[in-house]
Symmetry: C2
Subunit: 171 residues, 2 copies
Amino acid sequence: MRNDSLLIDDIDQHIVSCLIADARSSYREIGETVALSAPAVKRRVDRLVNEGVITSFTARVDPGSLGWHTQAFVSVTFRGNVSPARMREVLTPIPEVVAAYTVSGGSDLLVHIRAADMAHFEEALERLRTVDGIGKTESTIVLSTLLDRPTPIDRSHRDGTADGRVGVPVR
Amino acid sequence: MRNDSLLIDDIDQHIVSCLIADARSSYREIGETVALSAPAVKRRVDRLVNEGVITSFTARVDPGSLGWHTQAFVSVTFRGNVSPARMREVLTPIPEVVAAYTVSGGSDLLVHIRAADMAHFEEALERLRTVDGIGKTESTIVLSTLLDRPTPIDRSHRDGTADGRVGVPVR
DNA sequence: GATGAAACACTCACTGT
DNA sequence: ACAGTGAGTGTTTCATC
């Protein structure tokens, strides 16, 4: 565990899980479940946002409902040396790229692509393949999403300390 | 494009993008940007939630801030026939599994795993490998997340119709 | 961290188009 | 069917303790 850390207590974790479950719940409602007044909850939430623990509040949508019926993971191998920063720069303008990770192993990059249909995916893949520095690509088409959920927040079974605090790296 | 559909107009799309940008913004605020009264916005949001277009409102957290420093994608090959429903059932209780997709190609399943560190990942992988029906696994360790963003909602460059409506499949 | 008060937002029934 | 209005209630957000 890292020790260049601020401290997040049980109440903070509880507040965060409330907000993950429903980002629109009121401070008073959250306050009831964590036994705190609404202003106290607001101060903690503001602090969690400022510290970067909470990065945003967002609506999750069903991609299929909006017409995005196809997704794939594309393994990319670079031709020569490409910096991650540069790769992020060239991937950001491609709206079909919803996630990208540098990886270890057989390839250099794993790209998650969403598209309306196969034709749209093929078009997006072609745009990806013409990006400078990209060599081989290998696509894995997603047939169905079995599970898709937020990061769990409770690590107490692993490294929570006796007083319920966990280490948090300063950014 | 599917045609067993309800209709979502430009205003709905605009409302959805407002909520993706900030799930805690007020109906009045959204109403200002889409030129509608707060009750009208609420009615549309309620409808979008009931239709399943908006699946939830959630807080996004920085996994690193909560101590989850490791992630990997695991390609799984089944031993014999396993139903997707059964696979979902056995994966759901493993908290480290944050996403899982059935895929076409070399393997049957792609599993996204998050863990505190490598030791924790190894432990979660071991739990995954002992799941009945799972044969070979191949792990790809994530070095860094380059990009991670919601599905775009604007498909107008592809199949929006002249009146700005897009088809939406009934679930 | 709690309280109290003022400003603001939510939510309903109702009306109009 | 869908948008606006007004009123009552609940919520946010301060300053203060």
